[in-house]
């Protein structure tokens, strides 16, 4: 009896031990599984955090400003560009105002876009686009993109105006020629015939000048690498003054050339440079009051030579200053027709200096006058040029 009882106890203990071992093993396994799950979760959090960082770095690398908000409009992410888009407090405030307004619209589920034309200076065109993004159910957040489209807007204006201007410039004289010829064919009065013929000649010359300037411009554009040789600035100026003197004389305008303290030299194509300076002088004479003076001055800092052509004429309105170097751009169409310009002179100047690795700028005040400055790379040193080359 005792033996049976002891036997049963032993069996019980063994079975209990086995059960306990199994239970411990299971618990250990569960703990291990739980530990692995925790590790996986931690890894997932780290991965997600890395991805957020990655996303943030990628957004920070964009030149466009990006702002993302949650459904309540609280900012979740703002990239570096959006933090201070223009870097100027008052301009950033205006962009920020538009962003806030469009965000409010996007949170209501609308996609909206606005173009801000900021007068600056410098003048900038900023595009703000806001759109909703789904957060599940009826809820949505909002994302805004802020982009500087100044160059795009400028090029679009240049393109539209160019087409309008070129058709005007070419069609006007051709139309006039056709009308004059038509009138002439039925006109018996010899005096009137003479007058009409003179007008036809003037219009034909006008078309000819436009075509010549267009050809000149295309030649300069084609020659992206012009001849580079040392040319004395004095020679360029003297030749350009010679070419334009008759325009000045006709209006009683004197051209004063300030002799530089030392001989200045630039590297370039003499013919093109003379053409550029002559165009500036031609403009200065045409837009000066009769009897006024046009001044030419040149100086250097050793690296660059700056050549200035200043007039005391009517000046250029500030809104046109950035556009006067465009082809066929006219500040005052009526007046430019009186002066007989082709609308290509300053475009030629810009192309010439650009081909020479230089730049041209203008400062002007209406009623005071304008100063055009050519900035060209200085040549290697003084050159002994005493006679003008043929050309």
């Amino acid at each position: 009896m005792w033996a049976i009882a002891i036997g049963a106890l032993v069996v019980g203990l063994v079975a209990g031990g086995i059960i306990a071992v199994v239970a411990v093993n299971r618990a250990t396994e569960r703990a291990e599984t739980a530990r692995r799950m925790v590790l996986r979760s931690e890894q997932a959090v780290v991965d997600a955090s890395d991805r957020v960082e990655l996303l943030r770095h990628a957004l920070d690398a964009l030149p466009q400003g990006v702002v993302i908000t949650d459904e309540r409009g609280a900012v979740v992410l703002r990239n570096a560009a959006a933090a201070s888009f223009l870097g100027v407090p008052h301009a950033d405030a205006l962009v920020g105002d538009a962003v806030a307004e469009l965000l409010a619209a996007a949170l209501k589920g609308r996609t909206e876009q606005r173009l801000l034309d900021l007068y600056g200076p410098p003048r900038r065109s900023i595009e703000v686009l806001a759109a909703p993004y789904p957060l599940g159910g009826e809820r949505n957040g909002a994302v805004v993109e802020v982009d500087d489209v100044t160059e795009k807007v400028r090029l679009e204006a240049v393109r539209t105006d160019f087409i309008a201007n070129i058709s005007h410039e070419l069609k006007t004289p051709v139309g006039a020629l056709a009308l004059l010829a038509e009138t002439l064919s039925d006109e018996p009065d010899p005096e009137l015939v003479q007058r009409l013929a003179e007008k036809m000649v003037a219009e034909a010359h006008r078309v000819n000048r436009i075509i010549e300037d267009l050809l000149e411009l295309s030649r300069i554009e084609a020659g992206e690498h012009p001849v580079r040789q040392p040319v004395a600035v004095g020679l360029i100026v003297a030749e350009a003054v010679d070419r334009i003197r008759h325009v000045g004389d006709a209006r009683g305008i004197s051209i004063h050339v300030e002799e530089p303290s030392r001989r200045l030299v630039v590297m370039g194509d003499r013919r093109q440079l003379v053409s550029a300076v002559a165009n500036l002088l031609d403009n200065a004479c045409k837009y000066s009051d009769p009897g006024a003076a046009v001044e030419v001055d040149a100086h250097t800092d050793g690296q660059w030579v700056e050549l200035e052509v200043a007039d005391h004429g009517i000046g250029i309105p500030s809104r046109d200053l950035n556009r006067v170097f465009e082809r066929f751009y006219r500040v005052d169409r009526a007046r430019s027709r009186e002066t007989g310009g082709t609308g290509l002179g300053l475009a030629i100047v810009r192309h010439v200096v650009s081909n020479h690795g230089g730049s041209v700028s203008v400062s002007s005040e209406e009623g005071v006058g304008s100063t055009f400055t050519l900035r060209l790379p200085a040549g290697p040193g003084p050159v002994a040029v005493t006679t003008r080359e043929a050309g």
């Binding site: 405030a93 205006l94 920020g96 500030s318 209406e366």
Partner: protein, 238 residues
Amino acid sequence: MDEIRRTFHHELEDVHGELVTLSARVVENIPRGTEALLAGDLEAAERIILADEEMNERAFGLEERCYRLIALQQPMASDLRALMATVRIISEVERSADLVVNICKASRRIYGVELDPRVRGLVSRMSDQAQSEFRFATDAYAQRDAPLAAAIGDMDDLLDKSHQELIQAIFEAHKAGNCPLEVAVQMALVARFYERIGDHAVNIGERIRYMVLGEFGQDNESQQRRASFASPTGDQTS
């Protein structure tokens, strides 16, 4: 308690940002109005005139927020100075916006008249100078930059000089038969509007210095200007 102060300072920042925006609008509208005037662009002028209603509403709303904050939060020291300065600056900004509107209204009255180039040039110059002053004032307020604010007074001397030159040029153009009397009168008023905008920018500069440093400028000009705060500004509306 800390939470209440945090909310209050958040509100203060919000008010600050809103005033920077309103002031920035004036900075933008000065050249916009000038371009409308000189180009005879009545549509552009009309847009600025119509937008002034919103400007007024926002300015009054902002002023009311300031009064509510003063009443409910009873701010002290620099917070109180900031709010008091802001209330004063709001009226300077709102008044300047009105002056730009007056310039736009003048463009209707001189419509179709070709202005003398010298007069046009000086109007552009005054506009640029007035805008620069207002831009400095706006940026100084945005950044709470007292030295920048102090520089505005010096800039205003240039604007005053241009004002005198413009008046002289208007007289000369009228005498030479290039400017009818009614246009001359309008242009003289326009010159005055730019000059007043400059004065408002200087006043804003004074308020910024008070807000940041807790004191007004000690120079004679500042003292004279402070005395003039109490008197009517002499702005003209049309």
